[in-house]
Symmetry: C2
Subunit: 366 residues, 2 copies
Amino acid sequence: MQTLKVNLGERSYPIHIGEGLLDLPELFAPHIIGRQVAIVSNKIVASLYLERLSHSLAAYSVISVILPDGEINKNWKTMQLIFDALLTARHDRYTTVVALGGGVIGDMAGFAAACYQRGVGLIQVPTTLLSQVDSSVGGKTGINHQLGKNMVGAFYQPQAVLIDTTTLNTLPSRELSAGLAEVIKYGLICDKSFLVWLEKYIDDIRALSQVALTEAISRSNTAKAFVVNADERESGVRATLNLGHTFGHAIETYMGYGTWLHGEAVAVGTVIALEMSQRMGWISIQERNYGIHLFLRAGLPVIPPAEMTEADFLERMIIDKKVIDGRLRLVLLRHIGEAVLTDDYPKEILQTTLRANYNALVHCKS
Amino acid sequence: MQTLKVNLGERSYPIHIGEGLLDLPELFAPHIIGRQVAIVSNKIVASLYLERLSHSLAAYSVISVILPDGEINKNWKTMQLIFDALLTARHDRYTTVVALGGGVIGDMAGFAAACYQRGVGLIQVPTTLLSQVDSSVGGKTGINHQLGKNMVGAFYQPQAVLIDTTTLNTLPSRELSAGLAEVIKYGLICDKSFLVWLEKYIDDIRALSQVALTEAISRSNTAKAFVVNADERESGVRATLNLGHTFGHAIETYMGYGTWLHGEAVAVGTVIALEMSQRMGWISIQERNYGIHLFLRAGLPVIPPAEMTEADFLERMIIDKKVIDGRLRLVLLRHIGEAVLTDDYPKEILQTTLRANYNALVHCKS
């Protein structure tokens, strides 16, 4: 087991990563203050892991809340099911919510924990690679609004994050690939040596080598924790974690939540950011292709939906949370391994980037 | 103008109290960081004050959101109107929400500011006595759930609270009385000399003397700020601010939100707490009657609804936020001017208190 720490003063918490952590009651106990626990999960994950987790929490009065999964259900109506269950079972303000599932479950259970009686305990038990390297750490919680993704939510830190790497054995390979989009992202924004490591071990990761998975998750979270420590509420450097996300969110919104996986949209969004960074003269064509190649090896899409025009992108990007007073800020790569958040770019470069022929670009790549 | 300060480190903020503050742009400007402002109000208050407030905010891009008012509308569906308006007008994360109205508007606008894009700016401009002395200060925001009042919300501090005492000139006298319930409460829990002052000036307050109002509001907020400074997230002493509220919430829930005003339910709830404190042997019959007399002079009810039984109370009190592991903690008076939060009381005293004949008690009082 590897243990990292997110340092946020009195809101600091550990991230434990390893095989079989679900079965270790002693990892949960220090983070549960009352006698009541509510496990929030979805049908598939619950059928696989709820019994084991409940066994580890046998010392407490436990209820479980099974939510419909998917971005399309990440809304207030679904979250209301959590409040209904907590109130019906008379859970008090010393209850602890345990989020067992992927990013959608973690975001909703986390936001519910932030809001229930103005804030109760929260333990994240992420079961997808995406949530293990991204959404379970850092305290971002929330739901979607029909006019924008993640527009309503809270910054709310968990008491602990428990990552059981064996849960990835049951993850569909499309979702494993989606998680790798965020893993590659950490290398691109702040850790070139991690990219070198990934090039070497990406096939082992896809083959579910526990050693390679633990290392990839640990290095991803180290990068994330470092950035979150420096900027919890995203007033500066934390925004670089959103490399590819502004373009990616536009794809998700255009296609309808759930059609593309978040990680797939981020992969294509990052390819667009690579292309724009190259057009800015900040990275070379070879470096751009190096990034694209990693996404392809991870089993990810790298070409935007053919039906999306420049206008389709811009219209959706303008309601991004990184907009200040109408100016659209973008995360771009100054170098491979160094991201910047900037609104200082010629508008024409953004436009030609969105009009570029990605199909040709990917197939021409040597 | 009087100015108090709530000291919460980087979340500290001023409370300005005085006549005509609505018309002073210089009081708003230091607390607005972006170019966008959203005024949230209700129909009646907007018809009286929206134009003046908008004039003071003319330097910004301002939208207004008019909500249906009343506890019955303090729910997610109503709050959604705020998110719809913010997203439609493309307000970014540097927008500032200005809550113009009473407690219901302040609670919903505050919770919306806490959640919109995970937190934006907030200025409270309370226009009822109740919100001026209570809900606008201290950062409690939230909405009701059909199973309990204020069960979903956030601790979210505003950037400033601006109290224009002349807004009370248009407040119905029943609502002025309701606000006085909380004013009297501050004296009972922590400031006996304030009770002496109130006895002398309560008629002036009800006659809307600006001098008496400013003093009453300022002393109430001084008491509240003192308690909130000591215990922002209500792990201890802050709970004493809820004197009368556990009983009062039971009345509100039983009668249906909005039938009784919150302050009216708190007045009766506090009378029940006075009665129980007397039965505990902590205060004398004379002291109990002294408290009841003040509520009567404030124009408030002091007798629980005749149809509510002991069981009706207990059933609703058990889901109160002050319950830990099924034990009901109550705020009682150890002395007049000194409240305690305790679960150390004989159950029979609670039961006989709830069965007491308040009608007889009030009329026997000399």
